[in-house]
């Protein structure tokens, strides 16, 4: 892999990470204030649609962005109404918002533009185009021949839309707001122990509403980025589970902003690798070894515990062992490989496995075997003022 490939991969990582990052920080604000938010996906989707639709009608990407933020904040307020004012189930409210967005975007898009649930293509000022920083090289040919530093500058640093730079700035901003301001202290306190905040004379309801509104703004930018910067129109279900992967990143980052950036970059890298390399080969022996080590680890953990642990861990270990056998069988079946020759063969990693990696990682993290993720203590509980 030459250096330029590496730089383009890093560039694609940033682009893929950005909507995840914005949604992840949205979730961070909301959950730090004690409001679970599994409606990130829906808010992003609604924003993606309205941003593209309004940008098309007005011809201005900025007005589109505002519209996207508007609809996302509106959905946030519904979530706030359900979970703060009426003390309903925050998870169910999030589920409802996801469906509402998935259904309404297509119904309204069809009624508005009649193009099969998509919006017309955007061009010119209706779209956030990449910004070429001064001195950046334009063509691929120039970039390949340039010095490594120039390659990094032209491909990786320059050429993104303004939303990417804004997105990156939100990370230090989030950190500063949460950990260096009075507002942030109160916001975190409301997510840990709302009664203490209430006792101090600060309105829990107002703090929580502020948090969900901030989450709405960030999801709005994320959605607008997808439909007016990455792509040039809205298509049905275009968020493609990014809201859930952002949630995964949030847990992976243990509800901290800088770590959220790291997690989103990691998951963005998975996306980039998946689109860049269609055919990733790994030596069969390594896969088999990894599966067997995992199986052994599970058995080791389960054996010393209760019957349910033995059953589940034993079952999982068996699944891993069978997978290892299948991989070996597959490799050995290759032409002229033979049983042991098969170990030296390489196996193509399925694209679906790479796409599933964020989900797998989150389950591993949630399982608490590798650095336990502890959510804000008052998360998911409606606050009832004492009488």
């Amino acid at each position: 892999m030459d250096f330029y490939t590496f730089v383009t991969l890093a560039d694609a990582t940033i682009r893929n990470a950005m909507p995840l990052l914005l949604a992840c920080l949205a979730g961070l604000f909301s959950e730090r204030a004690g409001i679970f938010d599994i409606g990130l996906e829906g808010k992003m989707l609604a924003a993606a649609f309205l941003a593209a639709a309004v940008a098309f009608v007005t011809g201005s990407a900025w007005i589109g962005l505002l519209a996207g933020i508007g609809i996302s904040v509106f959905l946030s307020l519904i979530h706030g109404l359900a979970s703060i004012t009426f003390r309903g189930n925050q998870l169910i409210s999030g589920v409802a918002i996801n469906f509402l967005a998935a259904g309404l975007t297509v119904v309204v898009a069809e009624g508005w533009f009649a193009q099969g649930g998509r919006t017309p293509s955007l061009s010119g000022a209706a779209r956030f185009e990449g910004i070429d920083l001064p001195g950046a090289l334009g063509t691929v040919r120039e970039k390949i021949q340039a010095s490594p530093l120039m390659q990094i500058y032209s491909e990786f640093i320059s050429g993104h839309s303004i939303l990417v730079y804004i997105g990156l700035l939100t990370v230090p901003l989030t950190w500063w707001v949460l950990f260096r301001t009075r507002f942030g202290l109160r916001l975190r306190a409301v997510g840990e122990n709302p009664a203490s905040v209430d006792t101090a004379g600060v309105s829990v309801v107002r703090m929580r509403y502020s948090a969900v509104i901030i989450a709405g703004v960030l999801c709005g930018i994320a959605g607008a980025y997808l439909s007016t910067a990455v792509q040039a129109n809205f298509t049905k279900d275009m968020t493609a589970n990014r809201g859930f992967i952002a949630l995964a990143a949030l847990i992976f980052a243990k509800w901290r902003p800088w770590q959220a950036l790291g997690a989103c970059l990691l998951f963005g890298l998975f996306f980039a690798i998946d689109t860049r390399f269609q055919n990733i080969q790994v030596g069969a022996v390594w896969i088999i070894a990894a599966l067997l080590v995992a199986a052994a680890g599970l058995i080791h953990y389960g054996l010393r515990r209760e019957i349910v642990d033995k059953l589940v861990m034993g079952g999982l270990a068996a699944v891993f062992a069978v997978l290892a056998l299948l991989v070996w069988g597959n490799a050995a079946g290759a032409e002229g490989a033979g049983l042991f020759g098969g170990l030296t063969e390489t196996i193509k990693i399925p694209s679906q496995l790479i796409q599933s990696l964020p989900y797998v990682l989150v389950v591993v993290v949630l399982a608490g075997f590798v650095g336990k993720a502890i959510p804000p203590r008052a998360g998911g509980q409606p606050y009832v003022k004492e009488r």
């Binding site: 509402l100 259904g103 992967i245």
Partner: protein, 368 residues
């Protein structure tokens, strides 16, 4: 405790929620330039207008009964199994394996195997999230969402690389052998000389769904295990104090839930007009189960009725989509509104009603 008579809690609250969802749906119809009254007529016509349409309504209702029961069993234990979709996908894989690997001599044997395999695959798919919830305290909602993502990846991989017959264009498994095809309701009707269900795929799995309703009712309200699940759902500390094993109840409730979600696949895989496993086989039914369970107040009778309602919505919405420019996603909108009003905004609907009943009661007392 509640300020309302039982009938109001069971019937009135869901109906008011449905009414609110209906009003907003009307606004949506108006917004996209569709006459709501005409749309409603078309949807009712589409759901019940012909024997064929009724058959489709029942076919979808069968799916939603299974997934609704799955969500409800977990809800009784205060567990939110949002992974019905993934468990149903895995259930489909179980059905495909059962029907493609063994050459069954008769459909009844194939049906038994398909039911067993789909339930087993669904339960296995929830076993890891269930275990992590029970033993490691990992939130079941997050883990089942993640398992939904993995399930769709796994299914696409299996269809593309393992189950797809060589040279086939469609991303789907082979059609199951003729001997495994289970009778459709129309096959039964034809035995009596009628053509009551047309060419619809409604099949004998419907009776299985009804049996599952009875089974869940008996389990939850007539067995010791059901009592333990409900007690655990009401108050975990109290249940623990009463000697109920939290790990055991969490695991069992979720395994039953996953099994029920998996069994849905028998209907829409083995029972489909072309019995084969296709991509995205669950088609969102796992999620509709959430609306069905909420609407049906977690009771099998309510779930069966709510499933019928959503079956009619789904079929009516499909017909509406083919006749007008309102896409089928209108059903998702209505489903979302029902979930919102019956689930998350329950207090908004309930509190004013409770106040109303309290007032009426006070009025009656002062007159007496």
């Amino acid at each position: 405790m509640s300020g309302m008579p039982k009938w109001a809690d069971v019937v009135l609250v869901p109906l008011v929620s449905l009414l609110l969802a209906g009003i907003i749906s009307i606004l949506v119809f108006v917004a996209v330039g569709q006459n709501p009254w005409e749309a409603l007529q078309q949807m009712v016509e589409g759901a019940f207008g012909s024997s064929n349409n009724i058959g489709y309504t029942l076919f979808y209702a069968t799916n939603f009964t299974f997934t609704g029961l799955a969500v409800a069993v977990a809800f009784h234990g205060a567990l939110f199994n949002i992974g019905g979709e993934g468990q149903a996908l895995l259930g489909g894989l179980g059905v495909a394996v059962a029907c493609l690997v063994i050459p069954w001599p008769h459909w009844s044997l194939a049906l038994v195997a398909a039911v067993a395999m789909s339930a087993a695959f669904g339960a296995l798919w929830v076993s890891v999230p269930a275990y992590l919830q029970a033993r490691r305290g990992s939130h079941i909602v997050i883990t089942t969402i993640m398992f939904n993502g993995m399930a769709s990846g796994l299914l696409i991989y299996m269809l593309n690389n393992v189950l797809r017959p060589e040279g086939a264009m469609q991303v789907a498994s082979d059609v199951f052998p003729q001997a495994t095809h289970i009778p459709s309701l129309n096959d039964i009707a034809q035995a009596f000389g009628s053509n009551a269900f047309g060419t619809s795929p409604a099949n004998i799995t419907l009776f299985l769904a009804i049996a599952a309703c009875v089974g869940v009712w008996a389990l939850i309200w007539r067995t010791r295990l059901g009592y333990e699940i409900r007690a655990f759902g009401k108050s975990q500390p109290a249940a623990r104090y009463a000697g109920i094993d939290a790990t055991r109840i969490t695991m069992i409730a979720l395994l039953i839930s996953g099994g029920l979600a998996g069994m849905m696949a028998v209907n829409n895989t083995l029972g489909a007009n072309t019995p084969q496993l296709v991509d995205n086989a669950a088609g969102g039914a796992g999620f509709i189960g959430i609306a069905v369970a909420l609407m049906g107040r977690n009771h099998p009778v309510g779930i069966a009725l709510a499933a019928l309602l959503f079956g009619a919505l789904f079929q009516g919405g499909s017909e509406l989509a083919s006749d007008t420019n309102v896409p089928v996603q209108i059903v998702i909108v209505i489903q979302a509104l029902v979930v919102m009003f019956t689930g998350a905004l329950d207090n908004m609907v309930r509190k004013p009603l409770e106040g109303l009943f309290a007032q009426v009661r006070r009025g009656a007392r002062s007159e007496a």
